[in-house]
Amino acid sequence: MTTTKTLAIEAANLTKSYGENEVLKGIDIAVPEGTIFSLLGPNGAGKTTTVNILSTLIPASGGQARVGGFDVAGQADSVRGAIGVTGQFAAVDGLLTGRENLRLMGRLNHLPKQEIRRRTEDLLERFDLVDAAKRPPATYSGGMKRRLDIAMCLMGDPKIIFLDEPTTGLDPRSRRTMWQIIRDLVKAGTTIFLTTQYLEEADELADRIAVLDGGRIVAEGTPEQLKRLIPGGHVGLRLHRADQVEHAARVLDAGSFDADQLTVQVPTDASVDSLRKILDTLDREGIEVDEFTVHTPDLDDVFLSLTGQAKADA
């Protein structure tokens, strides 16, 4: 990687084990300032462990890590001053109201009183929580809780934000809102370290993605680079006439076909260009199609191809 940008987060050969159980087996991470880095992996891959180490919650067993230019082991307090963390489970005080939660963060960031008031009202407005400000988070929806959670994170104006699975369990609308929030943060110059189980999410947001599996980074690159590694995308066709199946499979370069089910599978990167080519071919050859589905690669495909093993145990 040739970048002249300063690194906001860097880790070298980071390991973590609990007794015999090796959770992280030596990972390297480099995140330039002002970018979104996504750590993608299934449950148990070590994503949260990585976030916990980088955010000074737990010590690493080996290796070095620097966040915001500070060593996570030796300068934990300086790291804490530079970061904001939003964990997998909303880290809000259930007995305080939304507004009180924000003011609590303001006081713990040692901001002047007026600044606390200003930022609190500003964040309530920005995250659409004004109506809920007087109620405790116990009465909030999942999406509202996450929004309050991130707002609390922003009270201290952190340069680097760790988001551990920020959209897990959210409905599609709340997920979109969260994505917009994350994009806005990066526009303002914040560095984001995002973990997710969803390839789609990493694809939408991240500048770089690292795929974590079994405590190792098995692939790293831009979303485009990664997708080229993943052959999981295909177009599924169900034809009208059985006698056209074999012919269609031949002209489309199909990966597989089933003459009984009348189905043909064509590998593709799902780009508009490649889809147009398929449609053109179908047209030209006069093949009648009942059903046309585009299957984009998902996490299963990533793992099948990158680790060479089905995650049967997940």
């Binding site: 955010s55 300086s78 970061i83 963390v85 259930g94 007995l95 609590l104």
Partner: protein
């Protein structure tokens, strides 16, 4: 701001948070305040007549027992209050927000000191209510103004020690249920001391234990101050030593657990 100023400011923020919790979730406080009062009424009105006669004083009966019992019940009030401390600490540690605190540049100990100060205040609430009920049913303390001042100081020191101890219990507990059980042992200690009957009336083995466990000097110092009697130097030293020792023990355990989790 200096480190000390941060610690003070963070502690007051955390105290504020705890006090709000107490107000929003008052049922725990009500239970903690109510328990020693129920004990007082039970012991005075159910057992008091008989035990009072057995004390061997000039008057005997219920009134004599109320006079004997109240100092020990003040300690029971502290014990009741600190049961709640272990529970609320353990509950707090299950909350995601504590992990957030741990990733923030704050005085880490303030999370614990917030609990401690709130709990000491709760102890005083428990003791004030208990004393008011005792006075209402005929208890007549004879302390001088200076004696009251000394009493507040001694009770603050004792509740400080016991609170840190139960914070340590709450931090060590693997679940909230466990945290509500471990401090129960403290409920037993006033019984095995001079709270309910003089230790001389006990069998030798128990008497030996009673004379050397922390609650007996605690209770005797409080008793002496309440009735303007001279405080025995040994009891005062033991009270201070136990309180500070328990506080240090609880503090060490809590800090270790908090940083390790």
């Amino acid at each position: 701001m200096s480190t000390l100023a941060h610690t003070v400011s963070d502690t007051s923020t955390m105290l504020n948070r705890q006090l709000k919790h107490m107000l929003r979730y008052p049922s725990l406080t009500v239970m903690l305040v109510g328990m020693p009062v129920v004990f007082l009424l039970l012991f005075v009105y159910v057992f008091g007549g008989t035990i009072g006669d057995g004390l061997g004083g000039p008057t005997g009966g219920r009134e004599a027992y109320l006079t004997y019992l109240t100092p020990g019940m003040l300690l029971m009030a502290i014990v009741a209050a600190v049961q709640g401390t272990a529970i609320s600490v353990a509950m707090d540690m299950t909350e995601g927000i504590v992990d957030r605190f741990r990733t923030m540049k704050i005085a880490r100990v303030s999370v614990l000191t917030g609990h401690v100060i709130a709990s000491v205040l709760q102890s005083f609430l428990c003791m004030a209510v208990l004393l008011a009920v005792a006075v209402a049913i005929g208890f007549r303390p004879e302390a001088t103004p200076l004696g009251w001042l000394g009493l507040v100081g001694v009770l603050a020191l004792i509740s400080f020690g016991l609170t840190w101890l139960t914070v340590g219990m709450g931090m060590s507990a693997k679940s909230v249920e466990e945290a509500s059980n471990t401090p129960m042992i403290l409920m037993l200690l006033p019984f095995l001391g001079s709270a309910f009957v003089p230790t001389e009336s006990m069998p030798t083995v128990i008497q030996y234990f009673a004379d050397y466990q922390p609650f007996t000097p605690f209770i005797e110092v409080v008793r002496a101050l309440l009735f303007d009697n001279p405080v025995e130097g040994a009891d005062l030293i033991l009270t201070a030593a136990w309180s500070i020792g328990l506080a240090l023990l609880g503090y060490t355990i809590s800090k270790k657990k908090f940083n390790k989790r």
